[in-house]
Each structure stands twice: as C-alpha cells, then as structure tokens.
C-alpha cells in the first residue's frame, strides 16, 4: 500500500493546472498506479501500454511537477536510479482525470455511432 496520504482521493480535481504537462502526467501516474518505478522502467512501461516514448527531459519535467504537487513521492534508495510511487493524492487526481476523460470518450463514441455508424 502506498504510504502517501496527503488528501482524500475522492476530493481531487484531477490534473487541472498541469496544462500541457497533463498528457505526460497522466501516463506517469497510470504507470505508477501498479507500483513504484524508476525513470527507465517508467519510460518502458509507458511505451508498452500507450505507444508513447517519453523523452528524458519531458519525463523529468513532469516528475518534478508531480512531486512538487505531492501527487508522487520519491523512495529512499542507495541506487542511483531512484524509484517513485503514487501518493493517495496522486491516485485521487488520476481517478478524477480519467473519469473526466472517460466521459469525453463516451460522448464522442456515442455521437460517432449516431452520425457516422462507427463506434
């Protein structure tokens, strides 16, 4: 169980305020949802489930913002590759963001089916 407990996951407003970093942030949080990972493992996992390869600069830009917001936290390690894990606040933000994305996807798919015959 992740040790972060900064806020109630049910109260999160998602990733509002992340602007153009929302995309990488969503991918990183989704990757960390099944356990702590270091930078390289994050890159490979994100690439495997999304087809997106996060470049090192983009990855660490997003990691720094997520850590500053308390949505992820770094774990202590003697290794030079430091792992990160999701906090409770991060889990709440990811859930809220994905719920909003799902609503958008459902509307889009429904309208496609109604007007274009594809879904």
């Amino acid at each position: 169980m992740p040790k972060g407990n900064r806020s109630d996951p049910g109260e999160s407003k998602g990733l509002t305020g992340f602007g153009r970093y929302a995309g990488p942030a969503t991918l990183i949080l989704s990757s960390l949802a099944d356990g702590a990972k270091h930078g390289y493992a994050l890159t490979k996992d994100v690439e495997s489930f999304s087809g997106v390869r996060l470049s090192p600069g983009t990855l660490y830009e997003a990691l720094a913002r997520l850590e500053s917001q308390g949505l992820i936290e770094a774990l202590d390690t003697d290794d030079r590759r430091r792992p990160y894990q999701l906090t409770a606040a991060g889990a709440g933000a990811l859930k809220a963001h994905l719920d909003a994305q799902r609503r958008v996807a459902e509307v889009g798919l429904r309208r496609l089916a109604g007007n274009w015959g594809t879904a």
Binding site: G39, Y40, P56, L59, R80
Partner: protein
C-alpha cells in the same frame, strides 16, 4: 531493466554534457538519476537530435523556473515561498534595469523641458506622461520595499549579513555619487521646471552611464576624469545594489501574505511601466523635435531594452502571483 548490451563508449560523458543544461539546484536533486536514464537512453538510441532538443528545452524551462520566470518550482524543496521569492527577485532585477534606462531617457526629456518651450508637442506629452509615471514608479518601489525591509529587520539571520552589508555600502556610494555629480545637471538655471530639480538631477547623475558618448571616445575624453570614472563605476554600483537586494529577498524569511502583496505591487508597477514605455515610445517614434528633444539611436535601443525588461518583469510578477501556499506555510 537497463539495456543488456550496456551503454556505448562515451555515453557517460555525453550524459554529463546534457545535464549541464539544468541549473545547479535541479542537478543536485535529480542529476544522478537523470544521468542514469540518459545513459540508458543513449544505449538504445546512440544518436538522437530529438533527445538533445528535449533535454535542452527541459533545461531552459528549469533555468527559467530557477530564475523565477516560469511557473512551478525548479525542485520540490523550492515550492511555495521560495519559488515566490525567486520570482520577486527577478522582478526586482528587471524593474531596476527598466528604471535605470528609463531614467536616462526621462532625464533627456526633463532637461529639454527646462530650456525649451515645447507646449503641444509630442515631446511635451511624453515628458508629462513619463514624469507622472516615474514618480508613481518610485512611490510604488518604496511602498513595496519598506515592508520587505521591515520583515528582514524583524527576522535577521546570519546568512543575510553579507548581502545586507553589500546593499548598504553600494546604496550609500550610489547616493553620495548621485548627489555629487547631480551638481553638474544641465537643467540647472532653466526656466520651466516640471519636476523637483533635485530629483531630476539625481536621476540624471545615476543614469549617466546610459550614454551615446561611449561610441565617441574623442568627445568622452573631453569630460572631467572624475565624471568618466563615475560613468564607468555607477552601473557596477547599480548592478551590485540590485543583486544584493535580490539575494536578500531570496534568502529572507518573508510571510506568504507579504509575498502576495509584493506580487500585486509588482503587477501594478508593470502597468505603470507600460504607461512610461508608451510615453517614451511616442517620443522616439516621432524622432523628437528641436535639438534639445532629439531622439537618437541610443533612445531607440533604450526603448527596446525597457520593453524587454517590462515583459520579463510582468512574467515574474505573474509567476509570483500564481504561487500557491499551503495553509500552514512557514517561511522556509
């Protein structure tokens, strides 16, 4: 999970070179793990222009954040008040550059006003607008500086001793030099005073270094040696003064409410600077009139520098104003 083949020769040195794009605070926090990731990435993609550009862009963003000119702290430890203080320091530096260059242009206008009947001309409009804006700017600067100085005095620590001493010394020298060389103000004896002569003379003397005479060594050589020395030394003194003030703001423990007030004062100052810039811009755009109000290349360059300083100051003020503080934020 690193590539089995291992990193290619020179990967570590290339990763170290890429890491230099980032500021020191960022490197201290993320440098080791970021280097590991870069080495692994180089092993997979030995040559990648996209990676170089991505790292360069990320490094520049981190440096802008470190300078207080971009949203978000450079590292988590600098979130909250530290991030706002960095932005306010950048705002102070940009505001100082604007003030010095603006004072040089404004001095030229006020001297012309002293000696010339310019009623109804663009120069008269520019002089009136810039004079009002300059006085408002100075009042705003003092309104913003006073509570910061009081907060610093109330919470003075050892790490503030050096910047405070440097600031005090440089300010004293600047004030003494400005008063001394202000005696040579060309507006003395004029018949149409618009602003107090002492203020105009002081601003003229402290901005003497912003001068086209640097491009004309022959004419400069005819000046008294002490005045040329002051023209060379005063910008250094100004730079030292501003950097010491910025260091104080970065290091001092300032409460979130004061930081929020300073950010609002900064935005107000930006609005006044915009008015000042419009006044100068109108004058320069018309090329000035008569010899006393003639606008030259250095004035065009001055307007460009002020526009850049204003843009950066506004960005810093907005960044400082956007910083959110935890309810129980301390001043660390």
């Amino acid at each position: 999970m690193s590539p089995a083949a291992g990193p290619p020769e020179g990967a570590a040195s290339r990763a170290a070179r890429l890491l230099r794009w980032y500021p020191r605070a960022w490197r201290d926090r993320y440098g080791a793990e970021f280097t590991e990731l870069l080495i692994a990435d180089i092993a997979e993609r030995p040559r990648s222009r996209a990676r170089t550009l991505d790292v360069a862009r990320g490094g520049i963003v981190a440096r802008l954040a470190d300078a207080g000119l971009a949203g978000g702290p450079v590292v988590p430890a600098r979130a909250g008040t530290a991030s706002a203080r960095a932005s306010l320091s950048a705002l102070a530096c940009c505001g100082a550059v604007f003030l010095v260059v603006g004072a040089a242009l404004w001095s030229q206008l006020t001297i012309g006003w002293q000696w010339s009947d310019s009623a109804g001309t663009p120069a008269a409009l520019a002089t009136t607008v810039t004079s009002a804006a300059m006085i408002a700017l100075l009042a705003l600067a003092m309104t913003a500086a006073l509570p910061v100085l009081l907060a610093i005095a109330a919470n003075f620590t050892r790490q503030l001793i050096i910047p405070a001493a440097v600031l005090l010394t440089a300010t004293t020298l600047l004030f003494a030099g400005g008063r001394h060389f202000g005696n040579g103000w060309p507006g003395t004896g004029g018949h149409r005073g618009l602003v107090p002569g002492g203020l105009a003379a002081f601003e003229w003397a402290t901005s003497l270094s912003v001068s086209a005479y640097w491009a004309h060594p022959g004419a400069l050589a005819a000046f008294p040696a002490a005045e040329v020395a002051w023209m060379a030394a005063s910008p250094l003194l100004l730079a030292v003064t501003v950097l010491a003030a910025a260091t104080l703001v970065r290091r001092a423990e300032l409460p979130p409410r004061l930081l929020a007030f300073e950010a609002r004062a900064g935005l107000a100052a930006c609005a006044v600077m915009a008015v000042f810039l419009v006044g100068c811009g109108c004058w320069v755009a018309t090329g000035g009139q008569r010899s006393l109000f003639h606008a030259g290349v250095i004035d065009v360059a001055g307007v460009a520098v002020m526009a850049l300083a204003l843009a950066l100051a506004r960005q810093a003020a907005r960044t400082a104003g956007a910083v959110s503080f935890p309810r129980d934020a301390d001043c660390s």
